[in-house]
């Protein structure tokens, strides 16, 4: 279970999140939507403990992140797989080393790492690119490698920051299908930040809409589609203020 309670965050006096509260049940999938700058990526960083809230509480399962030290947060982060908007692949490592990196840090045997890396590469339909470097890959391939790295250690929580930004519809569809498959395989709880609302609808149990740091709606997908502001955003990418 992932839970935010009354979370507020400001940067340089500018309030970026205002009293945001929502919960995602275990093994659930939440689609987090909203216009650029609404605070979606910040919520993911709060959930990883990369940023601390000014007010409010953040829970991952039974653990509240607020009181934890940086060293204690390291343990919590081991349960998270994150897909970054900008891939965040390590430039100096090969694709295979990138994907195997979390396992290598856990000091797993080399044979096990190699086997699991190859399994993930097969699952993301890139079986032969292990020896290549990230700079040699297209955007869609990098996203799939990022997805493989984020899930190679079977994390129970998956956070996806715009996993299909800038990709063509075919690759977008493939990545959403992969996300859903890997989430089901790991029994993971997932939050997916995306503007691809048409793809989100069938794979998300719940939708949350943010507008300039304020939570407009959070609830089951069917209910979200009945909400005028969410529906306007989902169907036409209209800002909630314009939909009113």
């Amino acid at each position: 279970m992932i839970r935010l309670e009354g979370v507020c965050k400001s940067f340089d006096g500018v309030e970026v999140l205002r009293d945001v509260s929502f919960a995602v049940p275990a093994r659930g999938t939440l689609g987090l939507v909203g216009a650029g700058g609404a605070g979606k990526s910040l919520i993911l960083k709060l959930l990883c403990g990369l940023v601390r809230p000014d007010r409010g509480r953040v829970w991952l399962g039974e653990t509240e992140l607020g009181p934890l030290s940086e060293r204690e947060l390291m343990g919590v982060r081991g349960r998270i797989g994150m897909i970054f908007q900008n891939y965040a692949l390590f430039d100096y490592l090969t694709v295979a080393d990138n994907i195997g990196f979390p396992l290598a840090r856990m000091q797993r045997p080399a044979a096990e790492i190699a086997a699991r890396v190859q399994t993930r590469l097969d699952q993301v339909h890139l079986p032969d690119i292990g020896p290549r470097y990230p700079r040699e890959l297209s955007g869609g391939m990098k996203k799939r490698v990022c997805l493989a790295r984020a899930t190679v250690h079977d994390p129970p929580i998956m956070l996806c920051d715009d996993p299909t930004a800038g990709l063509d519809p075919v690759t977008t569809n493939r990545i959403f299908r992969l996300l859903k498959d890997l989430q089901a395989q790991n029994d993971a709880t997932a939050i997916i930040v995306s503007h691809e609302t048409a793809y989100l609808r069938p794979i998300c149990d719940a939708i949350a809409l943010l507008d300039r740091g304020r939570l407009v709606f959070a609830g089951p997908t069917e209910a979200a589609l009945q909400h005028p502001e969410v529906r306007a955003f989902m169907e036409a990418g209209v800002r909630p203020a314009q939909a009113r």
Partner: protein, 255 residues
Amino acid sequence: MTALGRFGGAVLDICRVVGALTLFCGAVLRALLPPRADRVETWRALHRVGVRSLPIVIVTAFFAGGIAAIQVSTYVTKFRAYEAVGWGFGFVTFRELGPLLVGLMFSGRVGAHNTAELGTMKVTEQIDALRILAIDPVHFLVLPRIVAMLVMMTLLNVIGNVFALGGGMLTAYAMVGVDPFVFWNSFTEYVMLADFINGLVKAAAFGLAIGIVSCSFGLEVRGGAPGVGRAVNSGVVVSAVSIFVLDYLITAILQ
């Protein structure tokens, strides 16, 4: 803005840099208790920092030795004190010119590259990716680089001294006609172990300073690619200033 306002702004900027570097040093010191630098990353950094800097250090040291010999030769010719060339050269090069020039070259090449690399990792979220993979960037990225710069700057200074000696000897022979044996005798007779150690202490201090400054500026990058450029620029300037301040202090203390 008034002159006073500009002066105040500059003072605040300096305080900000000194404050950030102090906090960063605190984080590095905390990471040393107990020391947990990543072994693979440390070897990688030692190779990148040391082996790849070798050609430029050799060239710099060779010419630095030559310059020292030319400067000393002016007075040698005037006073016909040929047997003082080796001593003058060794004193100037080992104590001052060698570590200073190698340090500045090192800062420009290794320090700038380090700031750019860490800055790029910061703006492309690779640092965040490390933290999410439960890896402390100070242990994984910073400590190996600082260790590599400290060790390699000291070793490169020793290698640089050898090539500076060769450059000085050749130049003294070619420009003033000082016999290499006379040069060598004067060098071994008057240049003390203390002169050599003085240079090593400076090299180690410069390596440490370049490591801390370049890592700190790299991890503090904000604002995408332009931010990386600004950080590299500031990092090189602050490293150079640190080198001169440390040189002054070490010279005063070890005098």
